[in-house]
Structure formats: C-alpha cells, structure tokens
C-alpha cells in the first residue's frame, strides 16, 4: 500500500473516501460554485491546460474507468481508474485528473503518483449532480496525456420492473 496523504483543500465530506495508490487533492476550489454547471467545453479547457494544447486523445483501453452505468446514489458514486502503465522509473503515470462535465466545478480530484505507487490505479467516491460524462486524464512522465471517458446516468428512479 502506497502512502496516502491529502493536500490542503480536501475535505472528507467532499471526497467520500479515497483509496488506491495516488496522492489525492481536490482541485477547483478557486472556481465559482453556485448553481452554475461545468460543460464539456470547461472540461476540455482543463485538459488543454494539463496538456498545454488540445492534443490529448480518448483511449478507453489505456485508461479504464470503472463506474456504474446508472448511479444508485448520485451523492456517492464509486469510481476506479486504472491506467495501463508499467509504473517504472522510465515509464509511469505521474498524475490522474478526475473531471466531471456536469458538476458545478469540473475538476473533482487530482491524484499524484510515482513509480513507487506500484500500479497506476485510483479509487474514490464522487458526487455527481446529474447525468454526465466522468473524465480521467492520465498524465505520463514523458508528457503524454491519455483520456478515459464514461457516461454515468443519474436518474429520478422508480417505475422499473
């Protein structure tokens, strides 16, 4: 088990449990809250900042997202991101950014990793305001960025059966 520490700004209530091998931080604290929603463009903007341009590509095989298709409880949705990486000194994931296209702020959490992490996998429980894409951007040590993306439905519920 790798070390797990939180940078200032994270509260347990907002990130309900972070497990895995990353160092997590809750970003986006400087962004405005309120009822405004992020948009896919906002998320793309964040990714552009990470990459330094719009070069990152979606690769759901490289960045595997484990999320329910339909959230049982939008207030605490389990997510696991696994990046296909040997996590050696030469080739490793150094950061995983977790983003939500439809939340008040697009950046949910940032996880710092190193070759000592052993494997490039993070788990968290996140809050989702509505049906949206959850995006993970994996930043490699050589500067490459790979994107995983999965849609999660948050429904009113009922009427099934």
């Amino acid at each position: 088990m790798a070390h797990l520490s939180f940078k200032p700004g994270i509260t347990r209530r907002r990130l309900l449990g972070v497990a895995g091998t990353g160092v997590a931080s809750l970003a986006g604290a400087a962004l405005t809250g309120g009822t405004a929603r992020a948009t896919p463009d906002d998320v793309q903007g964040e990714i552009n900042k990470i990459v330094g341009g719009p070069a990152a590509r979606v690769d759901n095989d490289k960045v595997k997202m484990k999320l329910p298709q339909i959230a049982e409880n939008g207030r605490t949705v389990p997510v696991t991101v696994t990046v296909d990486s040997p996590q050696t000194d030469k080739d490793y994931v150094k950061r995983i950014h977790l983003l939500a296209e439809g939340n008040p702020v697009p950046v949910v959490a940032v996880f710092d990793l190193s070759p000592l992490s052993g494997k490039a996998e993070i788990s968290a429980r996140i809050r989702l305001a509505k049906t949206q894409n959850v995006v993970a951007a994996a930043e490699m040590n050589n500067g490459d960025v790979f994107i995983g993306k999965k849609s999660v439905k948050v429904t009113i519920g009922g009427c099934g059966g």
Binding site: K66, P68, Q69, I70, A71, E72, N73, P78, T131, K153, T155, I156, G157, G158, C159, G160, G161
Partner: protein
C-alpha cells in the same frame, strides 16, 4: 436442430377452432394434452428446466402478451421485439392456434374462451415431475427470480408462501429482484429458510464492497459438473426503494461476471450457466462481451421466445412470466462445451394438465386462510383488462382513473411494471385480481403538486430507461402510465428530445413548465411517502363503479419506431 419443429408439434395437433366456445374448449382440451405438452426427444446428459418472473402467482390465470415491445437500435425487429402477426410469421405460427394464444396478443379475448387459463404452480409441477421421472439425475431446475412478490398471499406472508412453495417444488437455485422489496432483514430471514442457494454475484455491500450473497453453486447432473452463477436485477436500488436495503449495491458488473465465470471454470465446471435477472437485451449484450458462459437463462423483461437465441457460443433462453411457460433445454456436453442441444418453450395450458396433488395441497394450504377475501368480488369488467405493453394497458387506465377520482388530482402516474395478470371481458374482478396488479410493499398513493417542468423531466427520465439505445442503460420496465394527460413520444430521439405536446386531457390546454398541477401516483421509491394503499384505493373504486369499461387509450402519439 429441432428447435422449431419440436415446438410446432403442438401447433400441428391443434386445428384452428371456430365453433361455439364450450365445444371448442373441449376440443382444445383434447388437442392440447398433457402428453403432447411433454413431447420431447431427449438429448445428452443434462436437462435444464427454467421458469422466471412467476410474481407469486400460485393459481392459473390469464396473461396477454404485449402488442407493442419496441426494440431500439441494433435490436430493432429482433426477438423479443416482435409482436402480433410479425411474431407469428417470424416463428412460423398460425393465428388462432394455442401457440398464437400463448405467445401473442392476437385475438386474445376470443382465444381465451377456447384455451382458458395458463400457469398455476401445481400444473407447472406436473410437467416438472414428469420430466424428472423421465430424465432422473440429469435435471436441474432454475428459478430466475421475481418469485416472492406480486400476490395477496405473498404480501400477507411477506414472501414466505413462495419460499414454502419453491422448497416443495424442489428448485435447485434462484436469483432475485423484487425479493429485495421485503427489505434486507426479511430477505436474509427468507434466504435462511430456502433449501437451495440464493445466488446474486453482483450484489456487494456499499461500505466494503464485499459480496453479500453466494455468487455460484455447483451441481453434478448426468456426470456433468455444472456451475450456476446468479445475477440479480442490476438496477434494483434505482427502480425500487433503495432505503429498504441501503447497504447493498447492485449493477451489471461485467468484470465480476467474467471473474465468476473464470473461477467456475478453474474449479472444474464443464458447463457454466448464468441465471440472470438482467433483462433480455442486457443479457444479449453481456453474452457478446463476457466469454465462457454456455447458457444464459434470462429473466426480468418477461419475454417468451420459442427458440434459443445464440450469441457467439452462448445460448440465451427466455422463459416468459407468471408461470405461463416452462422451458426445457437438453444439452450434450463434451470437452467442457455444448456439442448439441434441443429446446422447447412449453406453454403451461392449465386446462390440459392434471394438477400435481402434492403442490396443489401446498397451494391450497397457503390460500386457505385468505380464501374468502381472495374470492371477494368487487365488480365486473366489460373490457379486456391487461397491463403488459410499452405504453398504457387497460388495467393501468383503470388504475389511473381510480387515482384521479379517489385522490382528486388532475394527472395520475402509474408505474410501467410488467407484472400483473389479465382479465377477459365479462370477468368478475376479485380482490385477488386487484392484488395481482398492485401487491407491493410501498403501496402509498401520494398526492403532490408538481411543476410542468418536473412532470416533463419524469417523462423524459423514464423514457430513457426504456428506449436508451445502449441496453446497459435500460431498466427493463415499460413507459410510466399516465392518466389525465396526453403526450407525444419519439422513441428514436435522444434523452431530452423524446417527449412533446404534453396536454391536460380535461381542458386540452398545454402543460406549462412554470405552472403546478396536482398529481397522484403510487410505488414512489422515496421513503415516507404518504397516502392510502393502491390496492385499497383501486378496490374501493371498482366497488363503487360495480361495472368497469375501459376504452382504448388514444392519448399517446408514438413515433420513431
């Protein structure tokens, strides 16, 4: 492969009957005999028997199959998304035959007079016992769940009647969905009483993500080592009240299914069977992505398909609902693979089958304390009453009208469940019949103010649960039933664009997003919902009306099919 020919033996034996109904009934009784329902040329070492979604129906009943069952995207026009004449022609069946009566809605009311009721656990038991007598230790009997809920006696005994009945029937394994609506504690009590495994590989606890129930059971039949993996309904906490089992998480969990299949193979399984409550389209997709499953016994969507559907190397079986069908799948297994198979979907024609005395006694024992109430006549119907179908059924229209009048609301919403028996025109409506439509553990009929905007969001939300082109996002029910409001729906559009022209039928005025409306409905998944129980409300409404008549529903304009 003898699939279709086997099934058509019954059809060939029964001519189209046009005479007076009692004469025809007698003829039908002779043509459909217990013997030819059991006709089957045995094959291989294993006989899988399966039924699903019995919904606690212990005695024979009427059940009309849907006249509309839309398939979206890639599954358009494929079974089970065929109804009526299309269904008949696809499977080479003739109108008016026992099969047409069992499998489609074509001519239902007339044919009901000829071919009578279907199902009944004692009748099902006769078929099962005969096959066991014939095949001995080769038989494995699987129940795909939705067994403990849906009747007066199941509600009165909180599921225990069905546990007793299934123990007596000698089921080998089951999975679940509506079972969970008795609450976590009660489910665990009843699982203790079961004499066979309750398999739910996809249920984990929310805190530590550990499995709650066994996922897999092993059986040896005819020298073949069989692993049965259970898959509970993935969206139970979304479609039903999560507060009743707050510590349990569900989901399709494809990776977990694969892990369980691999583990079963590693443990030496020759044959891997998934007993699933995913719904047919979900299982069709699952079978294309998970490797190593030989047979998926599908449930939840209540589809009755008279042939096996093959996806890659996996055979999919769909055994209908309400005890109407028993499926038999004979398998020849060689080198851990299915070498050959033979299949038959057997309609349980109650009039042609001698009920099994042992199970008949169990059923009578369950019903005896409630018999007077069960048989109490509330009124009479002049129209065919049914629920099943993508949009409002006539029983739903009756329920919606009852809610509008009894709760004094403008609009009524009724859930798009697929369970609930049918009643032919002229039938008495008993307490038993009302509970077959409404027996659930969260029955309160609420009366709320809702904005036009919220109403619209509900309609779009439910529509996407049914018509999302990706089966993994489908919950398997039908569209919410609506009274007092007309609407148009384009099923081919994406979420947020399907619903339009919402109109109050009383005045013809358009629903205004900014205005509020009084809305009544039942089966809310929210805790502490208040109001009278739906079965009491509907019972008193029918008693007040004495005779009910339901015209066809012309308030829904459907496009995009």
């Amino acid at each position: 492969m003898l699939t279709r020919r086997d099934f058509l033996q019954v059809a060939a034996a029964a001519a189209v009957i046009t005479g007076p109904s009692d004469l025809a009934r007698a003829a039908a009784g002779q043509k459909i005999s217990q013997g030819n329902l059991l006709d089957f040329e045995p094959l291989g070492q294993v006989t899988l028997l399966n039924f699903t979604d019995i919904h606690a129906q212990l005695v024979p009943l009427y059940f009309r199959e849907p006249s509309m069952n839309i398939g979206i995207g890639q599954v358009h026009g494929l079974p089970p998304h065929l109804t009526g004449k299309e269904f008949l022609s696809h499977f080479g069946l003739k109108a008016g035959t026992p099969e047409a009566y069992a499998l489609t809605s074509e001519g239902f009311s007339e044919l009901a007079k000829q071919y009578g009721r279907i199902g009944g656990l004692a009748h099902m038991a006769t078929l099962i016992k005969a096959i066991r007598a014939e095949r001995g230790d080769k038989v494995l009997l699987i129940d795909n769940g939705d067994t403990w809920q849906g009747s007066y006696t199941a509600l009165a005994t909180r599921g225990e009647d069905m546990v007793d009945a299934m123990n007596a029937l000698g089921v080998d394994a089951m999975t679940a969905h509506w079972e969970f609506t008795y609450g976590a504690e009660r489910v665990q009590e009843l699982v203790e009483k079961l004499r066979f495994p309750f398999l739910c590989g996809n249920v984990i606890d929310t805190e530590w993500e550990e499995k709650v129930f066994e996922s897999t059971a092993f059986f040896e039949r005819g020298g073949v080592r069989i692993a049965v993996i259970g898959q509970a309904f993935p969206y139970t906490p979304v479609a039903n009240p999560r507060w009743m089992f707050p510590q349990w998480s569900f989901g399709i969990r494809e990776e977990t299914v694969q892990e369980n299949v691999d583990a079963a193979r590693a443990a030496g399984a020759d044959l891997v069977v998934l007993a699933s409550h995913d719904g047919f389209d979900v299982d069709r997709k699952l079978a294309s992505r998970v490797t190593g499953i030989d047979v998926v016994l599908t449930g939840h969507t209540h589809d009755a398909i008279p042939a096996v559907v093959k996806v890659k190397d996996t055979l999919l079986v769909a055994s209908g609902s309400h005890g109407k069908f028993l499926t038999r799948l004979d398998l020849q297994v060689e080198n851990k693979k299915i070498k050959d198979f033979r299949f038959r979907l057997i309609p349980v024609f109650s009039d042609a089958i001698r009920p099994d005395p042992d199970i008949a006694k169990v059923v009578a024992g369950i019903r005896a304390p409630h018999e007077t109430e069960l048989q109490r006549v509330l009124g009479k119907t002049e129209s065919l009453l049914y629920r099943r179908g993508n949009f409002n059924g006539t029983f739903d229209d009756l329920i919606c009208q009852a809610i509008i009048e009894e709760r004094d609301v403008q609009i009524a919403l009724s859930p798009g469940f697929r369970w609930g028996a049918s009643l032919p025109p002229g039938a008495d409506i008993t307490v038993d019949d009302v509970f077959s439509q409404t027996a659930l553990t969260y029955p309160a009929v609420y009366r709320n103010q809702m904005s036009g905007k919220f109403l619209y969001e509900i309609m779009e939300d439910v529509a996407d649960n049914i018509f999302n082109p990706d089966p993994y996002y489908q919950q398997g029910g039908d569209m919410v039933r609506v009274g007092g409001m007309a609407y148009a729906i384009d099923v081919a559009k994406p979420m947020g664009q399907r619903i339009s022209d919402m109109t109050l039928t009383a005045t013809g005025e358009k629903i205004d997003p900014a205005k509020t409306y009084t809305v009544g409905g039942w089966a809310s998944v929210n805790e502490n919902t208040e109001g009278p129980a739906i079965y009491d409300l509907v019972s008193s409404y029918i008693q007040r009306k004495k005779t009910v008549q339901v015209q066809g529903n012309h308030n829904i304009k459907i496009s995009g099919i």
